[in-house]
């Protein structure tokens, strides 16, 4: 669990250009990989990709090797993430990454303004 207010947006995909506020969040470990199981306030479009409905239930995990620890601890932002959704709506419980589809790249923020501006991490 985290007490931080988190936001999700993407500079790569128009469908996620507008920030989503994360209203529920929980940690799950799938195949040994820490993932955030989240609910966002506005559905993200996946019907065009053949899914029956757009969805607010997402799984997020770090996109870069270097961000593993940062993601696990949510210790600094922004963090680039994979946005995953269950491949089948019949799945009631997701227990492995194989049940998920990698749909989008996005970025996790702890600040709405940064999410709106698609702020990149500072140069290192």
């Amino acid at each position: 669990m985290t007490e931080k207010q988190l936001y999700l947006s993407s500079s790569e995909y128009d469908a996620l250009a507008r920030p989503r506020r994360i209203i529920e969040v929980d940690w799950v470990v799938l195949d040994g990989r820490p993932c955030l199981s989240v609910i966002v306030d506005v559905p993200i479009p996946v019907r065009e990709a053949g899914f029956p409905d757009d969805t607010t239930a997402l799984y997020l995990t770090n996109r870069h090797v270097e961000d593993r620890a940062t993601f696990r601890n949510l210790s600094s932002f922004p963090i680039d993430v994979y946005v995953l959704i269950p491949k089948s709506t019949a799945e009631t419980e997701v227990t492995s990454l194989g049940q998920l589809e990698n749909m989008y790249w996005a970025t996790l923020y702890d600040d709405l303004k940064d999410a709106e501006n698609h702020q990149s991490a500072p140069a290192r």
């Binding site: 500079s11 790569e12 995909y13 128009d14 469908a15 195949d31 990989r33 990709a49 995990t61 770090n62 996109r63 870069h64 090797v65 270097e66 961000d67 593993r68 620890a69 940062t70 680039d80 994979y82 946005v83 492995s96 990454l97 194989g98 998920l100 589809e101 990698n102 749909m103 989008y104 790249w105 698609h118 990149s120 991490a121 140069a123 290192r124």
Partner: protein, 503 residues
């Protein structure tokens, strides 16, 4: 070309070339110089030359008889010749020489460094770093490593180790094509004398490593032959040289050298044709690890400096060296830190001058030209004092010479695969041409909404690269691709190519 080779040398080549494969020696376990490297493919064990020596023991005198009966471990003459052979080897492969393995550091979070020739003297305070490195193949007939193969680091050893490391490091700075450097490296490893190399390769050596030219001018095998002749003049019953070297446990190495040299000559020093034959088709395929999440081991390069090699593009492109510099790496200047401290004074306040941390150059065993006082061309600011080599951990893949990639270019070429929901203008780019990456979608972790129908190629000013990161693996996707974060406004698009079929 053959006229330049001495008759004795030719005789040795012929002798060794005609040795039947079944005569490969079973190595004497008491001989420390013959420990088989773990990256060697497993070889069928035969009775070998040692058994034949036993059959002829009565003819070769008391010493050889003692060898055959086990009273003595090896003929002293063979031992002398074997030692000379090993000492003169251009590149010595010894997987037993790896640096001390250490546990993987916790929370490794590196800063990516893209070194330029001017930044090599930058001291590295305690922290995590990642450097682009080249990996040069050292051995033919062994598997080619693919992304994620585990390796351990070791000091580069051999009579021409410094020459090889300097060739690659300086060639990279001077932007000599990688294939040219690899070909010359193979020639040096195969003990092809400078005078026999093509003029174009001689010119590269003249320009990049002139101080090593004399060392690679004579074939080292001639020295072994000369020493053998000295012994033979005193003892007419001495074993033939090839059998002596077999007994000394260097027969396989000799055959490997001869094979490489013959192929390179037959293919007229052509890189493409040589490499096709140097890699045995049965072994030359790229090896990828079963578990890419179990990467190379961490080792201690020097006190307080730990490193891990990550194979990404293998010998065809850039790889990474992860480095953690701990507080233990600091040396007190007052206690005799060895480096000049001028640049430290420029970078640190007096209060921070108490400890001196290693520079990028020191970690990669590069030294300023002025410090070495050798006649290296003025355009080449650094010389190499040693170098790094990596031995594979569990798979039968080649040992790799590891050298730092130093780029002084102001601009870099970058690529981006897009299509569908993914637009041309985005922050994620890669310096690796996607068309050269097998299963690019997998390596880059492309999401489903990226249709992968187009490839953009652009140029970006190096200073405009915001971050350099690596795609993480995801449910069967190997990950591992190098990714640049760039404001798309700073990328000048050169061309956009439709991809049929999509990536």
């Amino acid at each position: 070309m053959l006229k330049k080779v001495s008759p004795l040398f030719l005789a040795l080549v012929l002798l060794t070339a005609t040795l039947p494969q079944t005569a490969r020696a079973r190595q004497d376990k008491t001989n420390p110089a013959t420990k088989p490297a773990p990256q060697e493919p497993e070889k069928k064990k035969k009775k070998g030359i040692f058994g034949k020596v036993k059959d002829k023991a009565e003819k070769v005198g008391k010493v050889a008889a003692n060898v055959a009966t086990g009273k003595s471990s090896i003929d002293p003459v063979a031992l002398t010749l074997g030692t000379l052979f090993n000492d003169q080897l251009p590149l010595k492969l010894d997987a037993g020489s790896v640096y001390k393995e250490v546990p993987a550091p916790n929370n490794f979070n590196p800063i990516f460094i893209r070194p330029t020739s001017k930044s090599l003297n930058t001291p590295l305070p305690p922290g995590d770093y990642s450097f682009p490195v080249h990996a040069i193949c050292t051995k033919d007939s062994v598997h080619v490593p693919g992304r994620g193969v585990g390796y351990k680091l070791a000091p580069l050893q051999g009579k021409q180790a410094d020459a090889l490391a300097a060739l690659i490091a300086r060639g990279d700075i001077a932007q000599v094509p990688h294939r040219t450097l690899q070909m010359i490296a193979w020639e040096i490893q195969a003990s092809i004398p400078y005078g026999e190399m093509p003029k174009a390769h001689q010119a590269v050596i003249d320009r990049l490593i002139p101080e090593y030219k004399i060392g690679i001018s004579g074939g080292f095998l001639q020295k072994v032959i000369d020493r053998y002749q000295t012994f033979a003049a005193k003892n007419s019953k001495i074993l033939p040289l090839d059998k002596m070297l077999e007994q000394a446990g260097v027969g396989d190495t000799l055959r490997s050298l001869n094979r490489s040299r013959n192929i390179i000559r037959e293919e007229a020093f052509d890189y493409e044709r040589s490499q096709m034959r140097l890699y045995d088709p049965a072994l030359g395929e790229r090896v990828t690890p079963a578990d890419p999440s179990a990467p190379s081991a961490w080792t201690e390069l020097q006190p307080g400096v730990y490193a891990q090699i990550i194979i990404e593009a293998g010998w065809q492109g850039l790889n990474r060296l992860n480095v953690r510099v701990s507080k233990d790496a600091g040396k007190s200047v007052a206690e005799g830190g060895t480096r000049a401290t001028l640049f430290l004074k420029a970078a640190y306040t007096p209060a921070q001058l108490q400890l001196e941390y290693p520079t990028i150059a020191a970690i990669f065993r590069l030294m300023p030209r002025v410090a070495m006082g050798v006649g290296v061309a003025a355009e080449i600011p650094y010389v190499v004092a040693g170098g790094l080599i990596a031995y594979s951990v569990a798979t039968a893949t080649q040992a790799l010479i590891i050298t730092l990639s130093v780029k002084d270019e102001e601009f870099e070429t970058v690529y981006r695969v897009f299509g569908g929901q993914a637009q041309l203008k985005g922050e994620s780019w890669t310096p690796i041409n996607p068309m050269t990456v097998p299963n690019y979608r997998n390596a880059a972790g492309l999401p489903r909404r990226n249709a992968g129908t187009s490839l953009a190629e652009g140029r970006v000013r190096s200073s405009d690269i915001i971050q350099i990161k690596t795609a993480d693996a995801l449910d069967g996707n190997a990950g591992g691709l190098l990714e640049y974060k760039i404001n798309p406004a700073n990328v000048k698009i050169i061309k956009v190519t439709p991809l049929r079929p999509p990536l």
